[in-house]
């Protein structure tokens, strides 16, 4: 395994920032390159560890960090006179952070005055130290050399990368803070004031901070993905808290799967489709359960088992396609983007931090009625998809890694999923030489047989789930939004759709 290639931070120094080229000081012996790698390291650790409790301290620390980053950016030599397009992202980010600082100063409401984040403070100080170092020795940098230009670009990217990760961490903390407050209030039986913001977590006043930090995160990301001109031209990212997000994500998924399946797809793409269908089934179970609890959907004895069976079948089929999908395979890009959006859109409704939220919590989330309708429509459409995927299993030219297929062939025969060879015959399904040399080999007969059987089972399960979901929709199983009725009986208004809940105690 090539993981020996792993390096720690600061193992690499660009020419500009080499420790041998910049005199050491007694105060901070790192080169500028090492400092920027340290910022990257700290930002990663922050993002991996972040939780809602840190939201206030992170938010208070953010403007100072951006100011320090801008200071370092400005200190880098080779700036062109006048307005430089290259500097616009950091200028925008700085302006956004400055307005956040203005809003925070003297504020008594959340997050109020208080401590700052030691990790962000450390990154801030590192940026300041780096700026001081560059200002002292920057004049000695041979700007005419290509290496120097490359190093300067690397420095700008590292600065923006650190800001991007940190902005995302602040955003994650704000979302989790909102969730924590909602959960605390609910468990204490208190009402809580939601912001005028279609988010399950946009607790006033965190909703506005989420918006503002999202703007910062998008600015940094657009620089890093080389899309800043488009961002400036007004290309908007879809708001993550849009209650119609799931419906749109699933509609796009439907389009992209059909487009992809019309072509000759690789097993890695079929793996993505089948796994995403399994996810859709699992998330649908969660939504159906929550919607039934909330009175948004008529409870049914047939719907949940049918969807659960379809989910298991999709996952079983996916594990078989997984045998054929080698590592490093490139996915169809629109399909992968659509799958990522489906995942994100479901998480917005079904998840609480990293795990599933309770049905009660999901039941109160905005957009639940739309989400249930959309997810049932997708379950309904799953039958056709399963049939098309089953056709792919009949392709005669399927190949896969020798070892995985050998293992699968023996397991399938042993489990009785494929026809066993005649008694006493010892069949080698994949040659040991192919396993040893890690070759791609044609799918052995038992695997092919079991795969076709799994495809048929998935089709059958998806058709059954589709029928129940369709029947449910025909009978009006989901209540029309705002009707307050479900199958002829009064249900409470899905109040999560309303942005005007009674105010709860400020915290």
């Amino acid at each position: 395994m090539a993981t020996d290639l792993r390096l720690a931070f600061a193992d690499i120094d660009e020419a500009l920032f080499d420790v041998n080229q910049i005199p050491m000081t007694s105060r901070d012996v790192r080169s500028v390159g090492e400092m920027l790698f340290d910022v990257d390291y700290l930002a990663r650790q922050l993002l991996m560890d972040v939780d809602g409790d840190a939201a206030g301290t992170l938010l208070r620390s953010w403007p100072t960090m951006v100011a320090a980053a801008e200071d370092l950016w400005a200190s880098l030599p080779g700036r062109r006179p006048g307005v430089d397009e290259r500097d616009r992202p950091i200028t925008s980010l700085s302006a956004q952070a400055a307005t956040i600082e203005t809003s925070l100063s003297g504020r008594t409401a959340w997050p109020g005055q208080g401590p700052t984040s030691p990790r962000i403070d450390q990154m801030t100080q590192t940026f300041l130290n780096a700026a001081a170092l560059v200002r002292r020795y920057g004049a000695e940098i041979p700007l005419e050399q290509p290496d120097a230009h490359r190093d300067l670009e690397a420095a700008r990217t590292r600065i923006m990368h650190g800001l991007y990760l940190t902005a995302h961490a602040v955003n994650v903390a704000l979302h989790e803070h909102g969730r924590d407050r909602v959960n605390d209030a609910r468990s204490a039986g208190r009402r809580i004031h939601l912001a005028q913001h279609h988010s399950p977590y946009a607790i006033a006043p965190t909703g506005v901070w989420v918006d503002r930090m999202s703007a910062c995160e998008n600015t940094a990301r657009s620089y890093l993905t080389d899309r800043f001109p488009q961002a400036l031209a007004g290309e908007a990212m879809r708001p993550i808290d849009d209650p119609g997000r799931l419906a749109q994500a699933l509609a796009n998924w439907d389009i992209q799967t059909h487009r992809a399946l019309a072509r000759n797809l690789d097993p890695s793409d079929i793996l993505l489709i089948t796994r995403t269908q399994g996810l859709i089934a699992g998330a649908s179970l969660v939504l159906v359960d929550a919607a039934a609890d909330a009175g948004v959907l008529e409870r049914s004895d047939r719907l949940v088992p049918a969807i659960a069976d379809a989910g298991r079948s999709w996952s079983n089929l996916a594990s078989r396609w997984g045998d054929l999908a080698p590592p490093g395979a490139r996915l169809d890009e629109p399909l992968a983007r659509a799958a990522a959006e489906v995942r994100a859109a479901y998480r917005q409704i079904t998840h609480d931090k990293t795990t599933l939220a309770s049905p009660k919590v999901i039941g109160d989330r905005p957009g639940l009625p739309q989400a249930v309708r959309a997810t049932l429509r997708t379950i309904e459409a799953g039958s056709e998809l399963a049939i098309v995927i089953a056709e792919k299993a009949d392709a005669p030219d399927l190949v896969g890694p020798a070892r995985a297929l050998s293992r699968r062939a023996h397991n399938d025969v042993e489990a009785g999923l494929a026809t066993a060879p005649a008694f006493g015959r010892d069949v080698v399904w994949v040659s040991p030489a192919d396993i040893l040399t890690k070759r791609l080999v044609p799918v052995p007969a038992p695997v092919s047989e079991a795969m076709r059987a799994a495809s048929s089972a998935t089709s059958a399960a998806a058709i059954a789930a589709s029928a129940v979901a369709a029947l449910h929709a025909l009978r009006g199983g989901t209540s029309p939004v705002g009707s307050g009725r479900c199958m002829g009986r009064e249900v409470r208004e899905p109040h999560a759709m309303s942005g005007t809940r009674p105010s709860g105690p400020a915290r």
């Binding site: 395994m1 090539a2 290639l5 792993r6 390096l7 720690a8 931070f9 600061a10 193992d11 901070d28 790192r30 090492e34 790698f37 990257d40 390291y41 990663r44 993002l47 991996m48 560890d49 030691p118 403070d121 450390q122 100080q125 590192t126 490359r150 690397a154 700008r156 590292r158 991007y164 990760l165 995302h168 890093l224 993905t225 080389d226 796994r275 089934a281 699992g282 179970l285 969807i307 659960a308 298991r312 996952s315 079983n316 996916a318 997984g322 080698p326 590592p327 490093g328 395979a329 490139r330 799958a339 990522a340 995942r343 998840h351 931090k353 795990t355 599933l356 020798a402 070892r403 396993i435």
Partner: protein, 133 residues
């Protein structure tokens, strides 16, 4: 401010050497492929609505991001998962993949989506920890 760890940290290499970068990305792809398979294997033993299905898909999508950064003609050294990898937990695999991204020269035009990969890996590590890995 806190002291920086100044201990020697491995053998310096030239990160702008394409072979080194692609080798690291190839290793990341292998690690994430293995992690996705392991999470999905756990998910398949759990209920249909287990959050592990979601984590598995997230890891697989991160694997595809890493793979997309590789040149078209790059071939991973191993087609089968290394047996050694099978002994590691998904969290260990994710953490190792994240560590491998640290020296990537993200400023290079061909690694323009590298920052997104780093961010997604950090999110996935946090999620994996939250799910008990």
């Amino acid at each position: 401010m806190d002291q920086t760890d100044l201990r020697p940290k491995g053998t310096p290499v030239d990160t702008l050497n394409a072979d080194g970068t692609w080798g690291r990305l190839g290793s990341i792809a292998l690690l994430l492929h293995q992690a996705a398979n392991q999470v999905w294997s756990d998910a398949d033993r759990a209920t249909a609505d287990s959050p592990l299905h979601d984590l598995g898909l997230g890891v697989y999508l991160a694997h595809s991001q890493a793979s997309a950064l590789l040149p078209d003609d790059y071939v991973l050294p191993d087609l089968d998962a290394d047996e050694e990898l099978e002994e590691r937990t998904p969290l260990q695999l994710l953490t190792e993949a994240e560590e491998l991204t640290r020296p990537l020269p993200l400023h290079r035009p061909d690694l323009v989506h590298g920052s997104q990969l780093v961010l997604d890996l950090c999110d996935l590590i946090r999620e994996a920890r939250g799910l008990g890995y």
